[in-house]
């Protein structure tokens, strides 16, 4: 596979050759930040369009098709609308926390976004606890949601926020445990190493039954983590109007909206990286020429393609199933997913210890 670190190294050396070290670092940081934000925003816009089109297809409709060819510019129009909308200031809210909440949510999702590996060497940072970092920062989001619900001084948002808190804390366990299962299998927490270990065969296929169980649980828990249907209780529109972000308007609402879609990408991206080999092409051991052809497709496309395909499944869930009730949601996690997950982890440890894997 083409190694992107060649380009980044070259750029680093080029800048270093005529600039002092501190300026190089600053410029690189700015470049990375701008690039990250750009990709973040564009992906969110794509996801909004993607979900609307998919949902329309499920519902025998056409979806957006008026703005631009095939409605492609619809999300851009929506974004501009969101940007120029008035930020309605409310009287009886805790102004500081109310304003802080959307930033917490979006920062959490951006931080998690930053460690995703896009291709060989195309990664902002690859450190030895990468996957741990990803789980840690993505949990900050729940703080923002709780703050949003609490500071709005509204009973609906409060109920939404508390539901969200209960849900996130519970499902974090399942996400963590299924990630842990795969970490045990890969033998490393570094994202680069995990992807590299799937060089020959993706973990979903090489990890036997535990990997498949972990994959299914991860998808369920990940859907719940992103507050999407059938687990969209925090913002159950028919119960709580819009849940924790009922009182938000303009770009503050836009932040929640963006973060929700990007979390969808992050969850499916992480699933792709843990189970479907990240940016690794599809390889079948022994089929050399087939593997060679697969290698021609760039890693970035592999990664985004896998993430989008997994997002399709999650979106499919949302537009098919009715919503669970809060007690059913929690009992699903604590009575079913968690015990299965713990058992699965032990199973995986046994497989690794006795070396009975491909």
């Amino acid at each position: 596979m083409f190694d992107f670190s060649i380009i980044t190294e070259w750029l680093n050396n080029l800048l270093n050759s005529f600039l002092p070290g501190w300026l190089t670092t600053t410029i690189e940081c700015v470049l990375i930040g701008v690039g990250l934000l750009l990709v973040y925003a564009l992906l969110a816009l794509f996801y909004i369009y993607y979900e609307r089109k998919l949902c329309a297809a499920f519902q025998c409709r056409l979806g957006p098709d008026r703005v631009g060819p095939w409605g492609l510019l619809q999300s851009f129009a929506d974004m501009f609308k969101m940007l120029i909308k008035e930020l309605i200031s409310l009287n009886h809210v805790d102004k500081f926390l109310f304003a802080l909440a959307p930033y917490l949510v979006i920062i959490a999702s951006m931080l998690a976004f930053a460690v995703l590996p896009w291709g060989n060497g195309l990664q902002i940072i690859d450190f030895n606890i990468g996957i741990f970092f990803l789980i840690a920062v993505s949990s900050i989001g729940v703080l923002g949601i709780l703050l949003a619900g609490w500071s709005s001084n509204n009973k609906f948002t409060l109920i939404g926020a508390l539901r969200s808190g209960a849900q996130m804390v519970s499902y974090e366990l399942s996400v963590g445990l299924s990630v842990l299962t795969m970490v045990v299998f890969a033998g490393s927490m570094s994202i680069g190493d995990i992807v590299q270990a799937q060089d020959h065969l993706w973990f979903l296929f090489s990890g036997h039954i535990p990997a498949i169980i972990a994959f299914i649980i991860y998808l369920i828990a990940g859907t719940a983590e992103t507050n999407r249907g059938p687990f969209d209780l925090p913002e159950a529109e028919s119960e709580l109007t819009a849940g924790y972000h009922t009182e938000y308007s303009g770009i503050h609402f836009g932040f929640f909206y963006l973060a929700e879609y990007l979390n969808l990408f992050i969850v499916s991206g992480t699933a792709a990286l843990l189970f479907l080999g990240g940016w690794m092409p599809f390889h079948i051991p022994g089929w050399e020429s087939f593997n060679h052809i697969m290698d021609y497709i760039p890693g970035v496309i592999w990664f985004i393609g896998k993430a989008i395909a997994l997002s399709f499944v999650i979106i499919w869930f949302k537009w098919t199933y009715p919503r669970l009730r809060i007690d059913q949601l929690l009992s699903l996690e604590w009575k079913y997913l968690l015990p299965i997950n713990l058992f699965n982890l032990v199973l995986m440890v046994l497989i690794v210890v006795y070396g009975i894997h491909l």
Binding site: Q59, C60, F156, R163, A236, S238, P322, R325, I326, Q328
Partner: protein
């Protein structure tokens, strides 16, 4: 009928009888509670279903007419009572005998100012707390200066009032609706799940519901009062605007009542058309129910699948009636216009696509694990409670109460038709849902039988241009899409009704919510509300 008269005469010698289509007793006001209890509890009478309470202003006297039905013997009876004096008219309450009576009495109090003694909740039902006057009294001041539109916040009360008789004087006591420590969430009046402008003040403990106070009247339009100022054919238009999904059925009901009073023979063709239209509306209405109910549960996609069928029905109706809602199609003596030439073909197309659609609904939604978890055992309503709360229609039948008027008191050509009354016994939300799905099939079955047999002939009988009804009172029940729809007309011989009372099915449906949600979760309130399927304009009128 004579039997009822004898049994009553044995116990209540003072009750005078008025024979008519429904036997009516005249009871002195102080005996009302005793008499009602006797009618309900006497084995041979067993009038356990309170259809409606009609408030009346007879000029000199104010009073009420109670319509009762025995679910066991399939008999009807009515009794009326009246009191003198317009200052503080008071009648003993029967709210301890029938759960729904409390709400019916509040409505009468709201419109006529009759106080029901010992009813624990004597607030106004539809009008705001500071409303001046009682609008359905004949001497009501219609001047808009008396009740100006308020620009203040909505006035509301946190107390209920109870009036009791002590030493010959009426004493008023206040009870707080909620305890001070209750966490009260306002669900509505603007809320996606209340299906209209209805408000539930919900006391919750975490996610568990402790108590609900239903607040109605946001779209009260005074239809009954308006009808008193209009000629009979003009009153028909309002029927479209109550339960807009059973527009045809409601029209049918009022037409039947007026035709019965004026002795008008409806041509057979018109009767066939009316029945087909009724059943088409029922299919459309139940389809919409399935869609919106699924949406309440979070399954948005189902809405589009069910609207597909409804759309097809609306297209059929548009071709014939010229409208997609508020059809105003049935008229006194028949229907407004003849069927569209394509009608039969279109209906057959619809019938051909229905089974596949229903199969798809069941596949996508009914059999789903989450769906079952959300609905089975949620909002259980027993048969006894369903009768006590007058919960009719599919919701009542899901509780095991065979209350379909098309079977119990058949009208039009229904006696000749072969169809089954869908009755289930579980009484939970799932049963209410399945009951409606099954009713779609039954309605389709009815249409199938008669679509090829629509007789030739007039679609409307000759009706005098100025229609006067003879003096008297008539009561007619029809099966709307959501339950039993009753029409009471009292005529003084003029061209306008002296009193036109609408007994809607949705008022009990909304009133029963508090009873069946207690101890359930907030999300269950949405499920239960959705499965009862009330329509707010029908509640408020």
């Amino acid at each position: 009928m004579a039997n009822i008269k004898d049994i009553v005469a044995e116990r209540f010698s003072q009750a005078s009888v008025e024979e008519g289509e429904i036997m009516m007793f005249d009871i002195p006001s102080e005996k009302v509670h005793e008499f009602a209890q006797f009618l309900r509890d006497e084995k041979e009478l067993a009038f356990d279903y309170l259809v409606t309470i009609v408030g009346m202003d007879w000029g000199e006297r104010l009073g009420c007419i109670y319509y009762l039905t025995s679910t066991e013997h399939k008999t009807h009876v009515a009794f009326k009572t009246s009191v003198e004096g317009r200052e503080h008219p008071a009648i003993p309450s029967i709210s301890d005998l029938w759960a729904i009576a409390g709400i019916f009495e509040r409505e009468v109090y709201d419109f006529f100012g009759i106080i029901f003694l010992n009813n624990p909740d004597m607030r106004r039902l539809f009008l705001s707390v500071d409303w001046v006057g009682y609008p359905l009294r004949k001497d009501y001041d219609m001047n808009d200066k008396a009740n100006e539109v308020s620009i203040e916040n909505e006035r509301q009360t946190d107390d209920t009032y109870e009036y009791t008789m002590k030493d010959g004087k009426i004493v008023k006591t206040e009870h707080a609706v909620f305890k001070p420590e209750d966490f009260v969430v306002n669900i509505g009046p603007q809320h996606p799940a209340t299906h209209g402008v209805l408000r539930f003040r919900t006391a919750v403990d975490g996610e568990t519901i402790k108590k609900i106070d239903v607040y109605m009247g946001y779209i009260h339009r005074g239809v009954e009062k308006l009808c008193e100022t209009l000629a009979y054919p003009q009153t028909l238009h309002f029927m479209d605007r109550l339960d807009y999904f059973s527009a045809h059925n409601y029209h049918h009901g009022l037409c039947l009542c007026i035709e019965k009073a004026a002795n008008i023979e409806v041509p057979l063709r018109a009767q066939y058309i009316r029945v087909i239209m009724d059943e088409l509306s029922r299919i459309a209405s139940h389809c919409l129910f399935i869609g919106t109910f699924c949406m309440d549960l979070g399954a948005t996609t189902m809405l589009f699948y069910t609207l597909r069928v409804r759309e097809q029905i609306l297209d059929i109706m548009e071709k014939t009636c010229g409208a997609r809602m508020t059809f105003n199609y049935d008229c006194i003596g028949g229907v407004m216009a003849d069927l569209d030439p394509d009608f039969v073909k279109d209906v057959k197309d619809l019938l051909a696509t229905l089974p596949a659609n229903i199969k798809e609904y069941n596949k996508l939604f009914t059999g789903n694990v989450i769906t079952k978890n959300r609905m089975i055992g949620v909002g259980h309503l027993s048969r006894k409670d369903a009768i006590s709360w007058s919960v009719t229609g599919p919701s009542g039948r899901a509780s095991g109460w065979a209350c379909d008027v098309r079977k119990t008191d058949p009208y039009s050509i229904y006696p000749e038709l072969d169809f089954e009354q869908v009755v289930m016994t579980e009484g939970d939300s799932y049963a209410r849902f399945k009951c409606r799905v099954a009713e779609i099939e039954q309605s389709a079955h009815i249409i199938e039988q008669i679509i090829d047999k629509i007789p030739e002939g007039d679609y409307c009988a000759k009706v005098p241009k100025v229609l006067k009804l003879p003096e008297g009172r008539w009561f007619q029940l029809v099966e709307g899409c959501r339950g039993v729809f009753g029409i009471y007309i009292e005529s003084d011989g003029s061209t306008k009704p002296y009193r036109l009372k609408i007994a809607p099915p949705c008022l009990p449906l909304a009133a029963v919510v508090d009873h069946i949600t207690e101890g359930q979760k907030i999300a269950d309130l949405i499920t239960i509300g959705g499965s009862l399927d009330y329509i707010v304009p029908d509640i408020d009128r």
